[in-house]
């Protein structure tokens, strides 16, 4: 972040410098204070719509570059050599993933917030069809024969299998939690599916994730490659011969107290290699070095000649170039412990600075060029793979001004604020949500007050913050607390913090998929609502006000913003008083309770409410409890 600020400052100073060469030094000196404020205060509070390129694709002949623009809801078609705009094609809301059919005549786009697929005719360059799919489609791949489409759905944690000609849904396959990215093997016989949230494991055990392996011909799940200790898995790339797969992932250290961030103490950024080239077991290797991190690895590409792996690092704003033969040699000779921060010097060739929050990558068909989507810059970095150097930066059309929200989002997604640049907000709030993990933060004492990470969606009016309600507002939550216990580095300047808070306050709740059209309740939900609001139990006995669901979880957000002791205090907790969490999209944010000990909504009441302190519920029949859950899922 500091680097970019300086860049802005220099731009702000440039006219002055041109006007008076003799005061260059003075100008730079000024830039550390006044010029920064000028740039910041000059930001508009308008909600500008940026392109926000997320993923890239070359056509097989390299003549076109398709750019998936996640905020402007478009696919932009550029010339594959000159990057001149050919056409902008509007698609659905918040497109998150796309891919070409094997014959490249159709481009499929997964629109994550309106649960549709856009089918683009690549000859006519228009949307030929829009098909409904599952909950929050995030990527899509067609099989080799053009019979089926496979769509990773983030919210329903599955892979929808569709008829590729009609869009009719055949079935869904169970994937990992937060299923998001699909990569086909070179012959498209296998699909590798990753997921951004860890799968359920027993409380306070190591997180586990997987690469779900689909047999495309049978459309069945045939294997799950385990990713031990990993939470947050992003893109997979496969070698041209299909004998090596590489996946970018986060390796959190959430089981030990978060007393430091240096030496990868909070989180590590890793690659996991799998396939015949590395034997039967996947091998995890670090991308980080002691003071050079590759925070939030996301996009991966392997050159056709198997000489390089490229990995984008969203938080560190760079591309890591890896010598693949040296990496394989290292794995064969050392095994590849992920915690060894001296390891990556054996295979990382260089780290190439690019723009804000680099995400998807694509190699030109001849492998000579690597293009990188800088999501929060609206630019594409072009890297020459023969020299591993940035050769150009292509600016996409759109607002050039950095708005308050944009700057806040850049601040949220960068890792440059933290000590050594190891982590950023988005490490634990993946895509501005949560990470499904429980952390032991330092201020409460080591091993004390284990806390579940909460989502950020729609939190603007839910103050106070933290599970103990100790932070009265978001500036406190995002500012001093975060700076002291997470970044362990310099403070945000006031305006940056303001922009960051503005961004966090702007995060909306995602669409609730349990609603009927028109927001009517199903019969089950309606019965559950009656239970939620009831004032007497099944025996006709009045329920005290504080023991009614609707008392603490009141209002549209489902919280009265006060703390209560609901009997969930553990031996490691200093207090039993906990902030009442909001109910927005509560069904998506398992596990539950302050320490994440309840794996499901049901367990809140079947296991952790033996004395009715978390509402009067022990009189409920199983039918009634199920109805209550159905109502909560509709919140």
């Amino acid at each position: 972040m500091r680097r970019v600020k300086r860049s802005n400052r220099v731009q702000a100073c440039l006219p002055v410098c041109l006007f008076a060469f003799g005061v260059v030094l003075l100008c730079l000196e000024l830039s550390t204070a006044g010029a920064v404020r000028a740039a910041a205060t000059g930001r508009t509070g308008e909600h500008l719509v940026y392109a926000s390129p997320l993923e890239l694709l070359f056509s097989p002949d390299g003549a076109r570059l398709y750019v998936l623009c996640s905020q402007s809801d478009e696919v932009r078609v550029l010339d594959g050599v000159t990057y001149a705009v050919i056409k902008n094609i509007p698609v659905g809301h918040q497109p998150r993933g796309f891919s070409l059919s094997p014959d490249a005549t159709r481009l499929f786009v997964a629109n994550s917030w309106d649960d549709t697929l856009s089918v683009i005719d690549t000859r006519a360059l228009n949307v030929a069809a829009t098909w409904p799919v599952g909950a929050e489609p995030s990527s899509v791949v067609e099989d080799r024969q053009g019979r089926r489409l496979f769509v990773a759905n983030r919210i329903s944690n599955d892979i929808a299998v569709l008829n590729a000609q009609t869009g009719a849904r055949e079935k869904q396959l169970v994937a990992g939690r937060g299923a998001s990215y699909i990569t086909p093997s070179p012959d498209r016989s296998r699909l590798y599916v990753t997921h951004i949230y860890p799968n359920a494991t027993p409380h306070r055990t190591s997180p586990e994730s997987e690469i779900s392996v689909v047999d495309a011909a049978r459309a069945e799940m045939v294997d799950r490659i385990p990713l031990r200790g990993i939470a947050g898995v992003f893109h997979v790339a496969t070698s041209a011969d299909g004998r090596l797969g590489v996946v970018a992932a986060l390796h959190p250290k959430n089981l030990v107290p978060l007393t430091a961030v240096e030496h990868g103490a909070a989180m590590q950024d890793t690659l996991t290699l799998f396939g015949p080239r590395v034997g039967n077991k996947p091998v995890e290797v670090p991308l980080d070095e002691l003071d050079r991190y590759a925070a939030r690895p996301f996009g991966v590409a392997i050159t056709p000649d198997n000489s390089r792996i490229y990995v984008t690092s969203g938080g560190s704003e760079l591309v890591v170039a890896i010598d693949l033969p040296r990496l394989l040699h290292y794995v064969q000779t050392h095994g590849g412990p992920a915690y060894d921060l001296s390891a990556s010097s054996n295979y990382v060739v260089t780290r190439i600075p690019v723009g804000h929050d680099p995400r998807g990558v694509a190699l030109s068909p001849n492998g000579r060029r690597l293009v990188v989507a800088n999501r929060l810059d609206d630019t594409i970095s072009v890297i020459d793979t023969r020299t591993d150097r940035l050769v150009s930066t292509v600016a996409l059309a759109g607002p050039k001004e950095v708005s308050v929200l944009r700057h806040g989002e850049q601040t949220f997604y960068t890792a440059r604020q933290s000590f050594h640049g190891g982590i950023g907000c988005a490490n634990c709030h993946i895509d501005s949500t949560f990470d499904g993990l429980q952390w032991d933060l330092e201020p409460d004492g080591l091993g004390r007050d284990i806390l579940d990470n909460r989502t950020l969606e729609d939190i603007k009016d839910t103050a106070p913050y933290k599970w103990n309600g100790g932070n009265p507002d978001l500036p406190t939550e995002c500012g001093p607390r975060t700076e002291k216990y997470f970044w362990r580095s310099e403070n945000y300047d006031d305006l940056t913090l303001t922009d960051l808070v503005a961004y966090v306050r702007s995060l909306p709740a995602r669409p609730n998929r349990s609603h009927l059209p028109g927001y009517e309740l199903t019969p089950d939900q309606a019965r559950g609502k009656v239970i939620f609001n009831r004032t007497a139990d099944n025996f006709g006995k009045p329920i005290p006000e504080a023991s009614r669901c609707s008392y603490c979880h009141s209002g549209d957000l489902g919280t009265n913003k006060r703390s209560f002791d609901v009997g969930t205090k553990k031996a490691t907790d200093d207090s039993g008083l906990f902030d009442t969490p909001q109910l927005t999209d509560i069904a998506l944010t398992a596990p539950y309770l302050h320490d994440g000990s309840a794996a499901t909504l049901e367990e809140i009441w079947t296991i952790y409410n033996p004395h009715d302190r978390h509402g009067r519920t022990n009189d409920l029949t199983k039918d009634q409890l199920n109805d209550l859950i159905e109502y909560l899922r509709s919140r």
Partner: protein, 357 residues
Amino acid sequence: MRHAINKLWVTAVFIATTMLAVAAPPNMPRYRFVNYTIANGLPDNHVYCVLVDGNRVWAGTDNGLGLYENGKWKTYNTKDGLAHQAVLSLSLDKRTGDVWAGTMGGLSRISGGRIDTFTQLNSGLSNNVVYGVSVEGENVWVATAAGACRLNLSTVQWTLYNERNTPMEEIWVYGVSAAPDKVYFAVWGSGLMEYTQKTGNWDKYEDPDRETEMVLFKNQGLIHNVVSSVSYVDKIVWASTYFGDSRYDGRYWQNFLTKDSGLPSNFTNYVKSVDANHAWFCTDKGLAYYDGANWAVYTPSLVTGEPQMTVRNATGNVTAVPVTTAPANNYILGIDLQGGDIWVATAGGLSHGILQR
């Protein structure tokens, strides 16, 4: 005279042919049984259920879920995430290849090697004792010790069926068989429950005489209310009870008792129908096959333990067929089909019946 001789000759041929026909037993399937026990890799000898999935065979045992593949057994147990070591029921989702296992401690889904478990505490499952499971389309139908329930795989919503919203008097549901049009539940003590998918309506079939030890009205309704399993194929429902078995075509009932059929015992744990006219019955005294007219029984002798196969034709004549192998135990708990072969769950091991051509 010649006419008389010819007549005598024709009569003799007819009598001889008839006698031959009577003497030759019906051509019922014969098997060579290969038995699996803990001695050759089966997790436990007490096998509650068996499921064939192509070349893979799943065995639900008292001590884990066994998978037989490529000539080897692999065992899944609670340490792998299985809900409970005792696996009572199995069902294959033919669309996805996922296997659902009903256990004494909940319901588990085995998908691509990963096991997810649903219990009465962590999900909407009505009870942890899952006697039966049947996957149809996007729904998983579950028979439990406290009613039936349905998990919609698309919405992840649970719906419970019990005495509060069905005609079920008892809620001890022993078995379930689901098809696109109907879902049948075998309810211990409450007969057979029928759910019509299109309308959501329930119907109930009970023993018309409601006698526990007598059959007063044979073929006028379900043979007995203590129903242990149900199988619905080709719009024909077959029900097994501990007091005989029933077949119902939507209009007529046909009941089977030892005294007037080839059933080796009225105590039937499980029934699996092949089509409208063929079915397998798993009893405490051997495995029985019914082809619509004739019966075959496969079992180790209850007296000597020697392999035994008997055939009963439509007229009631019983013939012993010489065999050298038999199911691992006479107490049969389940069966599934693998082409012409059968896999049989018994109280003494799992048996692979290899069809002899």
